[in-house]
């Protein structure tokens, strides 16, 4: 993974020192809250219901074992012993004291991490496929491009006064595991007719109050021109994006307002007029960055050994976990392991300091020291030999990390909701807990089912792209949940449609059970929920759901 050079190290150290002085002046009364607020937000510090919340950037969801251990240390020393992994592949700590934050940022700097640009109208963490570099369906590892984008965009003057926050996702694989189409800019690595690798560029996606899927603005841009083309898009956004209305300020609204054809014309004209050479990415620069992301251990490993085969035979729980939580790896004899942070009944995405330590240890012992964070709020060990899977599974199981539910109904995405967040209207976590417990006993029968819950219209829980989405709303002080059906965040991305009137909190489990019953009755062959929904439409679900009302 990328390692800081002397410039990065000095810059982050200076930033910590500046922030330490800012906190000192705030506590001494030399800065008002109005003056201090933008400064703390620039360093990822929010004030929420119970305490300050620190959001830490995990660039493209990639962590070293040393970094994960340090996050565990932060959880243990300055929080309540756990952290919360987010749908932006970042981590949040919810019980932070302002006076201790300079020490936390210093601890992050020790392991080449920070909390810069995790808030405000800035270029946020570029996200990607958590299987990057290991995925069998990958054209190329997208992480070098993510890092190039990160370095180019961080503190870029052109982007210091954007109309609103800005998010880019990059995928290098055939299967979209990065929810690319719900980002301001989406990039798919593609091969053109000549066999050259470049990018399909999409623009104008996003969730929140106005969910929109990004549209293709250019079918293919050579790697060399990636940055100049993105900059052309940002220039058009800066020029025409609205700053007078918060709810109309994202680039998706601009694209809808101009239309994709005019947006394309504007960007192409800007790009044509630009000095491409100044931002060109020569092959050597890409190759230099790619050296930070070496391919996995190239030595093929034995696919199985006696221990692996015996465990499959004798341990049904292991066999289920292998089936559900491991994915094919590009190197023979290896596997990609997803560690579920979704034990039914617990808080989705939460991870204790002890669990972080264990995962870091397993990464060191079996997985080349690498960990990934997924936008589904799980962790990934991307480089595990198949023969080591029994040992990894047993160690994870001892730490309650071996729940075999990836892609199943209890693998629920949920934002922190009203239990923590100052923006939320309703609780997400208790609903996720109740649903997971209720659905887990029959989730293998149900098969692939993605449930996503947001506690407010800002949609941090990605409810619009859940097969079943739940949006918490406040009705005269009571928690209700609006249900959407048929959404999807993968290569066939779709936005869910509202099925009917919102349901009371106490009715959510029964409602989702009813929806699942209808799906099981109507599905044919190997149809997944979105496919059945597209075929049969809203009516059977709506009829069943509201029959008693």
């Amino acid at each position: 993974m990328y390692r800081y050079d002397s410039f990065d190290t000095r810059f982050i150290a200076e930033r910590v020192a500046q922030y330490r002085d800012q906190v000192r002046r705030r506590l001494a009364g030399q800065l008002t809250e109005e003056e201090f607020r933008p400064l703390r937000l620039m360093n990822g510090l929010y004030l929420q219901l119970h305490a300050y919340m620190l959001r830490i950037a995990i660039p493209y969801g990639t962590l070293s074992s040393r970094q994960l251990r340090q996050l565990g240390h932060i959880a243990r020393t300055w929080d309540r012993g756990f952290g919360h992994f987010t749908t932006r592949q970042n981590i949040q700590f919810h019980w932070i004291k302002l006076e201790e934050t300079p020490d936390i940022l210093a601890a992050l700097a020790e392991v080449e991490m920070h909390a810069i640009q995790t808030s405000g109208n800035s270029f946020r963490n570029t996200t990607t496929d958590p299987f990057a570099g290991a995925a069998i369906d990958e054209i190329e590892d997208p992480r070098p491009y993510c890092e190039i984008i990160r370095q180019w965009s961080t503190l870029h003057p052109e982007f210091s006064f954007l109309p609103r926050k800005f998010k880019i996702a990059v995928s290098g694989a055939a299967n979209d595991r990065a929810a690319v189409r719900v980002h301001d800019i989406g990039l798919y690595l593609r091969r053109n007719a000549a066999g050259e690798v470049g990018f399909e560029v999409l623009v104008g996606g996003g969730l929140g109050r106005t969910p929109i899927l990004a549209e293709t603005i250019r079918d293919f841009i050579p790697k060399r021109d990636l940055l100049s083309y993105i900059e052309a898009i940002l220039r058009i956004y800066n020029q025409y994006g609205r700053r007078d209305n918060l709810y109309k300020s994202r680039i998706k609204i601009l694209v809808q307002s101009l239309g994709i054809a005019r947006m394309r014309d504007e960007v192409e004209a800007e790009w044509t007029a630009m000095d491409h050479a100044a931002l060109a990415l020569p092959d050597e620069a890409i190759a230099e960055m790619a050296q930070f992301f070496p391919p996995p251990d190239p030595a093929p490993a034995p696919a199985d050994d006696d221990g692996f085969g015996a465990a499959l035979e004798t341990e049904p729980g292991f066999a289920r976990w292998v089936e559900q939580n491991t994915a094919p790896h590009k190197v023979r004899g290896h596997a990609i392991v997803t560690i579920s942070l979704k034990e039914p009944g617990l808080t989705p995405g939460d991870c204790t300091a002890e669990q972080m330590d264990l995962v870091a240890d397993l990464a060191d012992r079996y997985g080349q020291g690498e960990i990934r964070v997924t936008h589904e709020q799980n962790l990934v060990l991307p480089q595990i030999r198949r023969v080591d899977l029994p040992s990894v599974w047993r160690a994870l199981g001892a730490a309650r990390l071996a729940t075999a539910n990836v892609a199943l109904a209890s693998n629920i995405i949920a934002c922190p909701g009203l239990d923590y967040c100052g923006l939320a209207n309703a609780r997400s976590i208790p609903v996720a807990q109740r649903l997971a417990v209720a659905l887990a006993p029959r989730e293998r029968e149900i098969g692939d089912l993605q449930i996503k819950i947001s506690g407010c219209i800002n949609a941090c829980g990605h409810h619009h792209v859940g097969h079943i989405g739940l949006l918490g709303v406040d009705k005269n002080g009571e928690e209700f949940y609006q249900i959407t059906l048929g959404g999807s965040a993968d290569a066939n991305a779709a936005l869910g449609a509202i099925v009917g009137p919102a349901v009371k909190s106490e009715d959510v489990v029964h409602s989702v059970d009813t929806i699942v019953d209808v799906y099981l009755k109507l599905r044919t062959g190997g149809e997944r929920f979105p496919e059945t929904y597209r075929r049969v439409g809203n009516k059977p679900f709506k009829d069943a759901l509201y029959a008693a009302h």
Binding site: K97, L98, T347, L418, Q433
Partner: protein, 91 residues
């Protein structure tokens, strides 16, 4: 319970650690909502103004008024959001 039982209290987050605090009878701040000073609506703006005044730094961030009742000697906010702030996450 009668509407007249609804009172106002002032709450904020403590500057140094962000925890919810409540304006007290003696003009200080307490993390225990039962210590909150309850006033009728007509007196609430004055209570808020007093909570916002004082030499910098104020020990709290962004004081505001909320509705609450005293039930069997305990102060209870009216909204779920404020109940969660006062008593912690429900999970």
């Amino acid at each position: 319970m009668a509407e007249s039982d609804v009172k106002r209290i002032v709450t904020a987050n403590r500057l140094r650690d962000g925890i919810p605090v409540y304006r007290t009878l003696d003009g200080g701040w307490s993390a225990a909502i039962d210590d909150a000073r309850l006033v009728v609506e007509e007196e609430s703006e004055a209570l808020l103004a007093e909570a916002q005044s004082g030499p910098p730094p104020l020990p709290v961030v962004a004081p505001y008024l909320i509705e609450a009742r005293r039930v069997e000697g305990k102060v209870r906010p009216l909204t779920l959001r404020e109940v969660i702030r006062a008593f912690g996450p429900t999970i």
